[in-house]
Each structure stands twice: as structure tokens, then as C-alpha cells.
Symmetry: C2
Subunit: 236 residues, 2 copies
DNA sequence: CGGTTCTTTGAGGACCATCAATACGCGTGG
DNA sequence: CCACGCGTATTGATGGTCCTCAAAGAACCG
């Protein structure tokens, strides 16, 4: 039974509630593909032929205009992407590349649109996912427009702190140059920004981040649940 | 029959395909409210008790953090807002204020969530709307991260040009200070930016914009369908 | 271990914000 | 109708933030 290949995604929120028949129809013609690191899987402007699910590894969504590139978000295990383009049958707005060796499930967009119309549990899950991504993007934009780059970095450090179980020391999950791009700054500036966080209780050594004074960092960062809360939203 | 009050929204894409029963259930307890200009209707962080529809007038969505404010988008007749927060039953991420005297339809969020589960045509329409808003926001973010403020303004002028039926002269739909905030700059800088567009074929006098050299403006702006195309998306 | 990529540091400059002051537009009331 | 007041728009001066360019150091990988 080939359906077992997709067992690992069956329990994701997007698929958990749908009927087995629907799931079989959805994954009919779907496949799993392994990608090496640093491989561009999809390019912006192309039709969204497949819904993608990160089964393992790490994927960066980025975008380009006029020789500039910016990192929009980074996705890890169990994230889906290209959902909005898939549903609307429109071109991708972002490109995607692997950051590590990654295993990706690719579900034909045609299947998604068909099953979406037949299985209301799936439709509800899609609404939930779209609303989540939408709100995450709004938060991202508020972060960009309302804060300086140093404030964004401070809040990023706090977010990682929480994502690592409130650990006071942890490693950055991505390269600094990509973090810089995600935060809307240059690598050079990120380097300087880390130095400028020193007075606010943050020590950096390579990928290693240490929070020496959580109170000072928090006081400076002024985290806000309407920007930084990720309990129900995505993030890099 | 009081339902006639809501005839004007019945034909909106969000409601057009749903059953009449569902529409009646949705609008049961809904009401129309008139607001004066410059009135904050909803504040970020508050629960999303109502889905809002602009029946007439003009509404700005904006957000605040640490004494900074930024304009996220401006909505005109027939736009809906607070849909994502309504569906997810979560707090609003943005505040809303009227820019002109406006008539707003307010539909209890409880109704929206209930009918959403019962009427699949409504559910599909919601998916469509959420995907549209999501993609519009991604475009907005690309615009902010990939372009300088002058490039953003140039593309904004081009967008208005198209929205006014390719007219070469038109009035700005909103105050310049709000436009500045939407574009992520200060009013002073917007003023200077308009001057800097002069060499690219744009003349400004008060609210009046004139495009003297469309080719030059387009060459500078480098509009991109993956950022600026609004055939299927929203905008200010 | 050599080459490549990433990171850091410094110098210089472009872009953009802030502050301050003036000009403009508009509605109100004299 | 005009004077006034208020908010908006503009203009200039200044400083801060951030980018660019260049080069050296560190980490990674074949």
C-alpha cells in the first residue's frame, strides 16, 4: 500500500480531520522528493502546480526584484507552503529553496482544489491555515514598519529564547546572512546590531546566543503579543 | 422585512453564492452603523466581535507600537475587514478608523463562524477572500523590503494611474500624511520624494498628480506583476 | 589543506528621520 | 467677506540609521 508514504503528514492539522477517502484522493499522484541543500525548488511567477509540505529539513521562502533579494520566512518540519497560490490557481509570489537536505511532499494542486470542494473538514482546515498565515504576515509587516532593525533583532532573540523552552543560551537556527535578510537588513549591519545588543544583555559567539540579562533585553525589545506572539502563527 | 437593509452586500463575492437561509442567519442580529470621519471603530488587541463591511465611505487599518503608528491599508466601498480574526476568534491585529463619513455593516462574528460551518459556498468564498488578502499582504511586504521609498512612491503613482482608468491626471484618494505612513516614510520625506519624481515625469500640485512622461516613470518604477498587480487583490 | 563562503570590521556615503519654521488650505465665526 | 485658527504640507538644517564598498578573519567543505 503506497499510501503509507504519506502517513507522516496525515496527522498534520491541515489533513487530520478529513475523510480517509478524501486523503487518498488528495495524495493520489502525490510524491515525496528529496532535495539537496541550497536547491531552488520553485520560482516566483511560475504556476503553483503542487502544494508542498516539509516532511523533513528546512526551506526558505524568498523573493527577488531588480537584483535585490529578501528572505520572507523559513519553514521547518511539518510546514506547508504555496497553499494560497494553489487554492487560487495563481502564480507563486515567492521562490523556495532548501537550506538543508530536505524531504518534501508534493501534492498536485489540482487534487487540492478538487478535494477542497468535496470535503468540508479539509476546507475548514484550509481556512484555518490561511487565516494563520495571513495574520503571521501582518505581524511580520508590523514588525518591519514599526521597529528599528535593532529592535527587530532584540525581539527575534527573545522569540528564539521562547522557542528553545526559555533557554538562556541557544544556537541560531539559520545563517546570519539569511537572518539579516529576514529582518530587513544587510549582513554587515546585523553583525553591528549584535554588538549593539551587548549593552542590553546579549552575548554572541558564532551561532551561539547567550542572554545575560533577560530583564534588560525585554525592557529594550518591548515584545508585543500583537506582533511577536507565535502560539498560533508561523515564523522563521 | 428588515433583511432588505443588507441587500447591498448580498451581491458581494463573499456572500453572493451562499444560500438565502444562510444569509438570513448570518445577518440576524447584524446592523448598519454610520460613523463620522476620523472615528476609531475598533482597536487592536480587542476581540473581533463583528465582521465589518464598508457599505459606503472609507476606512483605514492601522497599527501602533511604542508610540509609533503605521497605516497598513485603506478600504473603500464593498471591502470587508477583520475576517481572519473573526474566523479564528482571536484579537484584532489592527485598529480601524474612518477617514470619511462612513456606513459600516457589522455582522456578529458568532454568526460568521456558525454559518461558515454550515454553508460550504460561504466557506469557499471565505477561503477565496483570505487567500486574496494574504497574497496582497505578501505583495505589500515585498514592496516594503525590496524597494526604496522613492521606488515605492513611483509604483504607487502608477497603480493609481491604472486605477483611474489609465488617466494621466488624477487626485490622490487619501491625505499625503497617510500615504506616507502607508509607504513607510514620513510626511516630510514624501514631500521630498514627490519632488524627486519630477525628473521621472511626475508633477504634483496639492492632491493633483500629473504624469508627464509615462514611459520615464515606468522605466524608473519597474512595476512587477508579482508585487503590483491588483487585479485580484486589495490595496489602499 | 586550499578554496569557497560566510562573518566581521572599518570608512565613507546615501537615505531617511527629526526638529523647527514657514506656507498653504479650509472651515468657523466675527 | 474677511480674519482667524487649526491642521496639513512644504522646506531647510541636522543627525542618525543603514547601505555600500573594501579587506581581513573565521568557518566550512571537498
Amino acid at each position: 500500500m503506497s499510501a503509507s508514504r504519506f502517513d507522516s503528514i496525515r496527522d498534520l492539522p491541515l489533513f487530520a480531520q478529513m475523510h480517509q477517502d478524501s486523503f487518498d484522493a488528495l495524495t493520489h499522484g502525490a510524491f515525496v522528493q528529496n532535495f539537496p541543500p541550497n536547491m531552488v525548488m520553485i520560482s516566483e511567477g511560475e504556476p503553483a502546480d503542487f502544494l508542498h509540505i516539509v516532511q523533513d529539513g528546512c526551506v526558505e521562502l524568498f523573493s527577488t526584484w531588480n537584483n535585490h533579494e529578501t528572505s520572507v520566512t523559513t519553514l521547518y518540519k511539518n510546514s506547508t507552503f504555496i497553499l494560497a497560490a494553489t487554492i487560487k490557481d495563481r502564480p507563486n509570489l515567492m521562490s523556495a529553496r532548501t537550506l538543508q537536505k530536505s524531504r518534501i511532499v508534493m501534492v498536485p494542486s489540482e487534487n487540492v482544489r478538487t478535494v477542497f470542494r468535496q470535503d468540508s473538514a479539509f476546507a475548514f482546515a484550509i481556512v484555518d491555515e490561511l487565516a494563520r498565515c495571513y495574520r503571521a504576515t501582518i505581524k511580520n509587516m508590523k514588525n518591519l514598519k514599526l521597529r528599528s532593525s535593532l529592535e527587530r533583532l532584540a525581539n527575534y532573540v527573545l522569540k528564539q529564547h521562547h522557542r528553545h523552552g526559555d533557554a538562556l543560551a541557544f544556537d541560531l537556527p539559520i545563517e546570519k546572512r539569511r537572518l539579516a535578510s529576514y529582518l530587513g537588513m544587510t549582513p554587515e549591519n546585523l553583525s553591528r546590531a549584535f554588538n549593539n545588543l551587548k549593552p542590553h544583555g546579549v552575548a554572541v559567539s558564532g551561532q551561539r546566543i547567550e542572554i545575560l540579562d533577560l530583564a534588560a533585553l525585554t525592557a529594550y525589545a518591548k515584545p508585543d503579543r500583537l506582533i511577536d506572539d507565535t502560539t498560533a502563527e508561523q515564523a522563521p
